[in-house]
Symmetry: C2
Subunit: 321 residues, 2 copies
Amino acid sequence: MDALAQRALAGDPRSIARFISLIERGDSGSRELMKQIYPKTGRAHTIGITGSPGAGKSTLVSCLIAAFRAAGKTVGVIAVDPSSPFTGGAVLGDRLRMQDHALDSGVFIRSMGSRGNLGGLSGATHEAALVLDACGFDVVLIETVGVGQSEVDVIRVSDTVCLVLVPGAGDDVQIMKAGIMEIADIFVVNKSDRDGAEKVAMDIKVMLDLIANRKWRPPVSLASARDGGGIDAIMENIAAHGKHLAETEEGRSRRLSKIKNEVEEILRRAVFARVESAWTFEQTEILGDIDSRATDPYSVASSLLDRVINANSYTDLRSEA
Amino acid sequence: MDALAQRALAGDPRSIARFISLIERGDSGSRELMKQIYPKTGRAHTIGITGSPGAGKSTLVSCLIAAFRAAGKTVGVIAVDPSSPFTGGAVLGDRLRMQDHALDSGVFIRSMGSRGNLGGLSGATHEAALVLDACGFDVVLIETVGVGQSEVDVIRVSDTVCLVLVPGAGDDVQIMKAGIMEIADIFVVNKSDRDGAEKVAMDIKVMLDLIANRKWRPPVSLASARDGGGIDAIMENIAAHGKHLAETEEGRSRRLSKIKNEVEEILRRAVFARVESAWTFEQTEILGDIDSRATDPYSVASSLLDRVINANSYTDLRSEA
């Protein structure tokens, strides 16, 4: 096994960070590393925390880290900002309090902000979560910044999705639109000291009644993450959902469908990488022939695919994929 | 050549409509038809009309149809609503005045509202525009409902992108965010009788100064589509941009880059269709082996790709692609 993978699996934080950087850059070597560590994955409970900016997600994450640590569990955190090629500024500032845990070797915190690598943000986030899983963290928390479609894609890789809402934020429409209600397993109404917190909780329950029946009925709880209120109930809900996933047929089929997406994502990336590299000079010349209608894009796509298929041997592909 | 393609190329409206329906459904036979008609494409001027709901896009489109008809040109129109699997209701209502042209055989109007076919909405819209082009329409107008990312993707297939704004709509932020400013070739400030129309036009010009230099400086004009005011200036701007595209190196490189996207889109669809069909029963069983970590998604993706490559002969693919 590669030395970097070995050191990461042994728990060396700098090696884990370097490993995730390779993934983030879409480095082709990272695929081989992922394959090597994959047998060690599947033990962590991956929890996605989403909700609109200002809902107090980072504070909640910090409370959850403390609670898991108190229960003797190690925690890896991935903080995702899809809108920025860098993570920093306000976002990092908001997350500063997470750094309370910076000196705790049972906690690893990593920001991811790149977009545009071949696998897209959700592919990279998922692989980073798998790395933390393989490196032995009992819990992996994935926190997103906003509630758009990218966040849904990112958060979908989690075992348990926790949606954080606050009274008076008026972002219900955006959340409904993005389809987050449907993928949330646990609801938290944060800043419960604000007016209307009970009403928000009630509204969510009414909406849940309208959503098609599932075996798991998402619990809704109030919290005040700033002073640690309500964290116990959230921890119980997370544990209950983890148990549900481990013990039911629904949990298994959800896991299998995630694995299917994973395979297709890898396949897609392998094919795209090959297509990109198949655009040689002559192929680019052919664009002019299409422009003059001497040929057509359908025929060129076919020949390009032939080229993609014949260019590399299957063995090469294995290491690429 | 296929009888449907022949009748469509001869200008039969029902055959054109059926052809576009095949595309919309992502029917595999439509690829072969597209290939057959492709040599006839490349003559129409494709104009995308975008802008927020309520900006008066449909009224403007109706004015442009009349103006092009008066100039002796035939016009095909594609009205796109990405958010809806059907086009109807309010949207169709807004577009009713377009039906002033319903009895004019020099005008063909088609709504597209499906999503989720393999090529995505922008692929289908582009192919529908190519069909209208091949069928001999001199001008193809593509109108979108909103200003989100889907609209940007759809409108990007046009030769000339026209962005319609209105005073006091306050949607500047959304438009900036979606990156529409950058892709617009022509700006129209509609409802010019409203307060602040001149200021909106001025603001756009200031913003254009901030955007990186291009050979084409997008013109900004005022209009009052309801009573036909300002249409002449828009027609002149459209003609000037068409001339720019036809005569400059920038126009050519823009065309080639659109063609490259087209080829990659076709390739992507062909590969996805094959990947979908490669998931046989045994492959699905393997998901359980990944779940138990007996194997890993990277190895399964490789074998699936082998299968995709070997499953169909290249000849089959040609007709698929």
